[in-house]
Amino acid sequence: MAVHMPPILIYALRRLLQAVPVVILIMITTFLLLKLAPGDTVDALVGDMGGADADFIARLRAEYGLDQPVLVQLWRYMVKLASFDFGWSFVYEQPVSTVLMERLGTTLLLMATSLSIAFTLGIVLGAIAARRAYSLTDNVISVLGLVFYATPSFFLSLMLILVFSVHLGWLPVGGIKTIAAFYTGWDHVWDVARHLIMPTAALSLIYLAFYLRLMRASVIEVADLDYVRTARAKGAKEGRLMIHHIMRNALLPVVTLLGLQFSTVLGGSIVVETIFTLPGLGQLAYQSVVQRDMNTLMGIIFLCSIIVVVVNFLTDLLYARLDSRIELV
């Protein structure tokens, strides 16, 4: 490394290189795992078609390369992947990259909004609960948070639809936009936003509890630390203590969770995406498993690893920004 790169770039590069073996491991494991599953994509396709004759089935299998030994299939796949070729989705009859790109936006939008809502609301409520620890307010916030967390996501989603779409008629039942309304500009933004309200609410209510509880514990812990006492001895008010002294330090463990949660939320969004018919990666992943659409699933997993690497990188940056003690090396 003769050239002098800014430290952040070196750090980014190092993180990327560290991620490579992880990603390769993931890809190989997933591939072999999926091959263990009974039936293949041709079975799924034929099932969807309502049946087909034997020649047709054999021809499809040869066409998709499924008649080759598993290791040959794996090798072919990995070679292609090395040049970032995700292959062809036999179920969608499109290049996998196209399939993924169509879905990525929705998923990122859904996850970004619901995670930020869960995160923001979680830390605010968590902080409030912690400052009034063991009071009625605390109990109400904590238990309510847990009730949402304890509610199966499909149950919550169906209830939301019943109340807000069917009975009140305020919000659309599902989808990402009003089809054939051809909104443009701000109307389009507003339309998409309206469609995202319920799925976002469902997802964020569920993950709210994680942040809430962690923040609560973290604030209680930090509030007992010496430097908070110092600040108090300086004559600082409660509000000031909270904002300048407690919050930032209490946020550190919560930020770490944010990075770890990302892929969990992607899994959790499967059900929500299915109910609200959101064309996102979660639903696509489910469909790909059920359809044995190897290439698409592998593409999703790959994309997911990339996202997780990026998100973890960003959380590291955020962490370093929040914690002056950390230097990125």
């Binding site: 999926l34 599953a37 904590s142 238990v143 847990l146 967390y149 509610t151 199966p152 690893s305």
Partner: protein
């Protein structure tokens, strides 16, 4: 007036479980959790008394509303199965799934986390890469894949839930081990010539248990939710009356006979809530650092 006498031993403290209970009961929400938990356990145990027969058998006319028949006090579902006995037997299945999946997840997590945290270095590197790989695959997608492979038998579902849940405990155990392995009592044991295995499992692990126990309650809760999500996607095991299955099927009649899914839904919510509150209480009682009051 004398100096503090280091020879004189303080009067014996009450046994640990009493101290534990005293700390635990300070948290009122945790008491509620314990109450609910005991209730669920009692339900699971008494399922055979409520309905000595198979909860899947036809017990009355289909879709009998609740509180209309003595035979089926909480009504019947689409196939005439008794909702009440389903809820009781479901407690059994849900607890079983929760406990076994948690044991699986914790066991894998403890072994991996302990090795990584204790030895550090390349062992840690390798194990953590594997953990990261697992963590990167969305766990529910992995669960679907495992169920696709192994089929929807309850044993496999439980195992699969355990398998997809081990990464978080592994990371936690690793962190615990990393902090505990530098504690002096570990050095003391090494200094006595105790072997690594004994240090890991006899010296460090018991001290790492409290957070693991607390986290176990989280996994229990998540396991039950995961099973119900699988059932929602029609991938549950229909040979058993699990709450997830009941909701999954009741969802078809959600609008006309909401009780079919709402009753097991409430059962799930309360059970998961009880695990979470229990975990809170355990946390307060086992990690007294956070105590207030």
């Amino acid at each position: 007036m004398t100096l503090a006498d280091s020879q004189q031993i303080a009067p014996p403290e009450p046994p640990r479980y009493i101290v534990f209970w005293r700390r635990y009961r300070r948290n009122r929400a945790a008491l509620l959790g314990l109450f609910l938990f005991v209730l669920v356990v009692l339900m699971a145990l008494s399922a055979g008394l409520v309905d000595p027969e198979d909860p899947l058998r036809r017990a009355g006319p289909p879709l009998t509303p609740p509180f209309t028949s003595w035979e089926t006090p909480l009504g019947t579902d689409q196939l005439g199965r008794d909702v009440l006995s389903g809820v009781f037997y479901g407690a059994r299945i849900s607890l079983m799934i929760g406990v076994v999946a948690t044991l699986v997840a914790i066991s894998i997590g403890v072994v991996i986390g302990a090795l990584a945290g204790y030895f550090g270095g390349w062992v840690d590197d390798v194990l953590m890469r594997i953990t990261e790989a697992f963590q990167t695959i969305p766990n529910f997608v992995l669960l679907l894949a495992l169920v696709a492979i192994m089929g929807s038998k309850i044993e496999w579902i439980t195992l699969a839930i355990g398998i997809v849940s081990w990464t978080a405990p592994a990371r936690m155990v690793r962190a615990e081990f990393m902090s505990l392995r530098h504690r002096e009592f570990v050095d003391a044991a090494r200094n006595l010539g105790v072997s690594n295995t004994a240090i890991i499992f006899r010296e460090i692990l018991p001290n790492a248990m409290p957070p693991i126990v607390v986290y176990a309650s989280v996994i229990m809760a998540l396991s039950i939710l995961m099973e119900s999500a699988l059932a929602f996607l029609s991938l549950g095991d229909p040979n058993y009356a699990s709450w997830g299955n009941m909701i999954g099927q009741g969802r078809a009649v959600l609008r006309s006979a909401p009780y079919c899914s709402v009753i097991p839904g409430i059962a799930i919510i309360l059970t998961v809530l009880s695990f979470s509150l229990l975990g809170e209480g355990l946390n307060d009682a086992l990690n007294p650092r956070q105590k207030k009051t």
